[in-house]
């Protein structure tokens, strides 16, 4: 007799495989995008089942939500530009083969890896600048990785901006809807409130800059979609500085701690929690603006 919980997990795993197949074998790219979004949502559910609420939040917000928006936006743009968006059969086969090869290489690496002692995370946790283990790893133990990640995000925006002119035809007038506008008016204060809550919560429970930034980005994208705010150019005024704020803060803190204690990003005793909160605040702004910039690049109407 299979327990109901195991049955649920099995169904979840099988649906994931099926959705992954549907995403690859879809007849139209639109279908593929929709399958991918549903895949992301079920993936988030699987992370919840694996007791990883942080990853689940990130997967639902970034993997399903924002990536879905970006994919649909790219698809719409490709159709408007009459680009032959669907790659030919040989491209697909090549991509599939390379993915399989990469998978086999990674699997082989994982299997042949020498066994390592478990990470001494539990013992080290009392020394960390944050109570929540995920935040402690992201912003204390492996803060370097997060610094470089924020740099990668900024680089992605720079790449999108430089490609913009060559691939984006001018955008037609958006579909205005009073219903959408009233929903956005209703949701906006809630979004800002929950972003602040997630950011604050990150220190001691699942949450943090990535989740907060994504919620803010979603609010910004809704604002642009509903046409409540004129499309703004993030390359003008103080916006680039705001976009860079997380990275700049990170570099400043790294240099400060280097000068103070001799090791970059080794927080002084007692000051760690405040510094981590400061870094998370900066990262939230950078992540939110980077996603808005990725979404809106090519959407600013030239005549305004």
């Amino acid at each position: 007799m299979i327990s109901p919980v195991l049955l649920f997990d099995l169904l979840l795993g099988l649906s994931l495989l099926w959705l992954a197949w549907r995403t690859l074998a879809a007849h139209t790219l639109f279908e593929a995008c929709v399958s991918f979004i549903v895949f992301g949502l079920l993936m988030a559910l699987s992370w919840v089942r694996l007791d990883a609420p942080d990853v689940a939040l990130a997967e639902a917000a970034v993997g399903a939500g924002l990536t879905g928006v970006l994919l649909l936006g790219a698809l719409e743009r490709a159709e408007r530009a009459r680009v032959e968006a669907a790659p030919g059969p040989w491209w697909r086969r090549g991509a599939g083969l390379s993915a399989l090869l990469l998978f086999l290489l990674l699997a082989a690496a994982l299997i042949t890896l020498p066994p390592r002692p478990p990470l001494p995370l539990q013992e080290a946790l009392p020394l960390a600048a944050a109570e929540h283990p995920v935040t402690a790893v992201l912003l204390d133990f492996r803060a370097w990785d997060t610094l470089l990640e924020s740099a990668v995000l900024v680089l992605a925006v720079v790449a999108a901006w430089s490609l913009e002119r060559s691939v984006s035809p001018p955008r037609p007038a958006p579909v205005c809807s009073e219903v959408l506008r009233s929903l956005v008016r209703l949701l906006l204060p809630f979004s800002i409130l929950s972003a602040g809550y997630l950011l604050w919560r990150g220190g001691h429970a699942p949450g943090g800059a990535f989740q907060a930034g994504t919620v803010l980005a979603a609010a910004g994208i809704l604002l642009l979609l509903s046409d409540l705010r004129r499309p703004f150019d993030l390359r003008r005024g103080y916006w680039p500085l705001a976009l860079l704020s997380g990275l700049l803060l990170f570099i400043a803190v790294a240099l400060g701690t280097l000068g103070y204690g001799g090791t970059a990003l080794d927080y002084p005793p007692g000051g760690g929690a405040a510094l981590v909160l400061l870094l998370e605040l900066g990262l939230t702004v950078t992540i939110a603006l980077a996603f808005i910039a990725l979404f809106s690049s090519g959407r600013s109407r030239g005549d305004e």
Binding site: V175, S177, V179, L180, L183, L187
Partner: protein, 98 residues
């Protein structure tokens, strides 16, 4: 079995009925507008019954209030999305006629 659990279970059954009916409608109804009609029933009533049942089972006011908030937000989002899908469907049909 206490009265609260019994009530929760019947709410759960009611919620499941609306979700199954909504899914069936989504799969079997002939055109887009009918399918939206079926889906919104699952979103609004089905989820409402489910959250009511879960709130009763949790036995905590804080959880019950959060579930209520989730239901209200999903209803607002669901109603808006249904309207937008219908509007884009309508726009597509008028585009065909031109």
């Amino acid at each position: 079995m206490s009265v609260a659990t019994l009530l929760a279970l019947s709410l759960l059954a009611g919620g499941l009925f609306f979700f199954i009916a909504g899914t069936l409608g989504l799969l079997r109804f002939p055109d887009q507008l009918c399918r939206i009609h079926a889906l919104t029933k699952a979103d609004n009533v089905g989820l409402g019954l489910l959250s009511g049942s879960l709130a009763l089972l949790s036995g905590s006011w804080a959880v019950a209030l959060k579930l209520l908030l989730i239901w209200l937000l999903v209803m607002a989002a669901g109603a808006t999305v249904a309207q937008l899908v219908a509007a884009s469907h309508q726009a597509g049909r008028e585009g065909d006629r031109d």
